[in-house]
């Protein structure tokens, strides 16, 4: 199955600081996605990538940027974290069995 890891698993940061979350895949899947999950909202798409240096915005992209300089890594950056960005962040790839999508284990980010 497709290997996907997220780091860190948990992070507490202060308002106004930059934060970068990493998503790493071990197979050369083209499509990668960042979602955030909040109570009452399900999973909402932040940004996605369809290849190296090819990215686009999702539904809730304000305050976030992404980069994909290598196929295996998709980085999500909060340029200046705010309390409203406290959430659980999931990375996903289009690859693997079971509907074709594989999710990372998530990063729980708390902005204080």
């Amino acid at each position: 199955d497709a290997g996907i890891t997220q780091s860190p698993r948990h992070k507490v940061t202060e308002t106004g600081t930059p934060v970068t979350l990493r998503c790493h895949q071990t197979e050369n899947h083209r499509y990668m996605y960042w979602y955030r999950q909040d109570p009452g909202h399900g999973l909402r798409l932040i940004h996605y990538s369809y290849g190296v240096k090819d990215t686009d915005k999702g539904e809730v992209s304000d305050g976030y940027s992404v980069s994909r300089s290598k196929t295996e890594d998709f980085l999500l950056t909060l340029e200046s974290a705010t309390s409203s960005q406290t959430s659980v962040y999931f990375c996903a790839i289009l690859g693997g069995t079971g509907g074709g999508y594989t999710f990372g284990s998530g990063t729980r980010l708390t902005v204080v």
């Binding site: 996605y33 009452g40 399900g42 999973l43 686009d56 999931f90 509907g99």
Partner: protein
């Protein structure tokens, strides 16, 4: 813009009950509809539905799609406490296949 609506948003049942979860969708170019179960971590895949009227089944869980009426249901029979989770419905959409999720149904099964 694709839209996925789930109902109910939460549900509490007793062990042994049968539950039906609903998912309606409005999508531009339908490919499939996916169901996931989420406990305390990442969503795990349950079903992919592409054809109308064909039931997918796995143990006590089953799901069916109605492409004419644009909805799907997920049935769980003889519920167990281990079925307690958030159940998510998602549309892979067109273009770059980004999933659009419904808000989920939080199912709580009490002994």
């Amino acid at each position: 813009e694709d839209k996925v609506v789930q109902s109910p948003l939460s549900l509490v049942v007793h062990e042994g009950d049968t539950v039906t979860l609903n998912c309606s969708y409005e999508v531009t170019n339908f490919r499939s509809l996916l169901w996931y179960k989420q406990e305390k971590k990442a969503p795990t895949f349950l079903f992919m539905l592409t054809s109308s009227g064909i039931e997918k089944k796995s143990g006590r869980l089953s799901s069916i799609l109605d492409k004419k009426e644009l909805f799907s249901i997920l049935n769980i029979t003889a519920t167990q406490t281990g079925d307690s989770a958030i159940y998510l419905c998602a549309d892979p959409g067109a273009g770059s296949y980004q999933l659009t999720f419904g808000k989920g149904t939080k199912l709580s099964v009490i002994p």
